[in-house]
Amino acid sequence: MDIAWMAWTWQTGIFFACIALCLTTMTVLAIRYPENDHYGVLGIPTTRGDRLFLSLVGSAFIHLLWIGFVGANPLVTLAGGVEISSLWLASILSLVYASAVFRWV
């Protein structure tokens, strides 16, 4: 089967593998530990899945806003010329945001 048209890169491959891992974890959790709706700061009923959705969409916006307002210039250059983009700071921010969503929403 020729999937050249899908234009895979290892970076997007890792990205989608992480999403798939999240979804699988959620499925296993839902079977092993069923849950009730949870009411957090927003006052709306949320499940783990809702909170994952909010975390993912929010993280996408955090990354886009970071690119828009801060940019994605290299933060540091490691030995061997490997550049670490400042966008990783947005990823760390997203993790903080996601844990806040899971804790309080």
Binding site: A7, T9, A30, E35, H38, R48, F53, F61, A72, S85
Partner: protein, 303 residues
């Protein structure tokens, strides 16, 4: 504590999930792959990292300026048509007969514009608003008004807004009519006994009844107008200049006209995110607006 819900029944939707994977998830993944690369065709791709997103979100870049302007036009269009269609739809539904033979006639006439396909609506208005052979265009320009949707900004906007109002006000009106029909007569009798004015009947009885249907109506109209493509494409082709080019028209120009798959992919991902989050907000408000008070012990039911 409430017994937790067993969600295993969701496994029964697996066959549908497979179909969705084929027609939506795989293409979406491809779009994400495109958005970080550049191509000159022939399935050869070159890594571009976050380059397209940088261009897209920078108002001074060619792509960014274009995208943000189109997004602005889309948002303005949606807000304008909502602010016309919602009050007008409510007004029309209040004027529709509640009983008698007029009801059926009214419903059929109201439903007619909803049955006309988008491209046909576009063609109708394209001809109707022409200054040489169109009744509307001819009349307006003979009144001495400079009206020409092919080369004048306000005429173009006036035409596509009028067209959308003609096409979709009935939807709001029909939804509101259904909402109004559901309020029992006793409410109105009580209001008459109290000597309530027409306005307070509307405020206290009718508007609360319309709450839910209006949310659905606003959601439908917002989403539909935010992704509008066919009608302006047929009538103005996005012109004059770019003045009626919305995001979806621009997207097609970039993806299929210029074959800039990377740029178009980045643009459609951002567009999709905006729509996704707007839908989520609407849906959440809609499902929680009339929800009964939450159970007392559900507060820490998740753990």
């Amino acid at each position: 504590m409430e017994k937790p819900l067993n969600n295993r029944a969701w496994f029964l939707v697996m066959p549908v999930a497979l179909i969705v994977a084929f027609n939506a998830i795989l293409p979406l993944m491809t779009v994400v792959n495109y958005s970080v690369q550049d191509t000159f065709g022939n399935n050869q791709f070159f890594w571009n990292g976050t380059g397209w997103f940088k261009d897209l979100l920078d108002p001074n870049a060619e792509l960014g300026g274009r995208f943000l302007a189109a997004l602005g036009r889309n948002v303005s269009f949606s807000l304008i048509i909502l602010s016309i269609e919602v009050p007008l739809g409510i007004l029309v539904s209040l004027c529709m007969p509640k009983k008698g033979p007029g009801v059926a006639a009214c419903l059929v006439i109201m439903a007619l514009p909803l049955l006309v396909p988008w491209n046909v609506v576009g063609t109708i208005w394209q001809i109707f608003a022409r200054t040489d052979i169109g009744l509307l265009g001819w009349t307006v320009s003979h009144l001495g008004i400079n009206y020409n949707y092919t080369n004048e900004f306000f005429s173009a906007w006036f035409t596509i807004i009028l067209m959308d109002v003609w096409h979709w006000t009935s939807l709001i009106a029909l939804l509101c009519y259904a909402g109004l029909k559901s309020s029992p007569d006793a409410f109105y009798q009580a209001a008459r006994i109290d000597g309530a004015s027409r306005w307070s009947v509307f405020r206290a009885i009718e508007l609360p009844k319309l709450n839910r249907v209006l949310l659905i109506g606003v959601l439908l109209r917002f989403m539909d107008s935010f992704m509008i493509y066919t009608e302006p494409f047929v009538v103005t082709g996005g012109g004059p200049g770019n003045s009626t080019t919305g995001v979806s028209i621009d997207l097609v120009k970039i993806a299929l006209g210029q074959f800039d798959l990377g740029k178009a992919a980045a643009m459609s991902i951002v567009y999709n995110l905006i729509i996704l989050s707007t839908c989520w907000v609407f849906y959440t408000v809609m499902t929680n607006v009339d929800a009964p008070d939450r159970p007392r012990d559900a507060k820490d039911g998740a753990l």
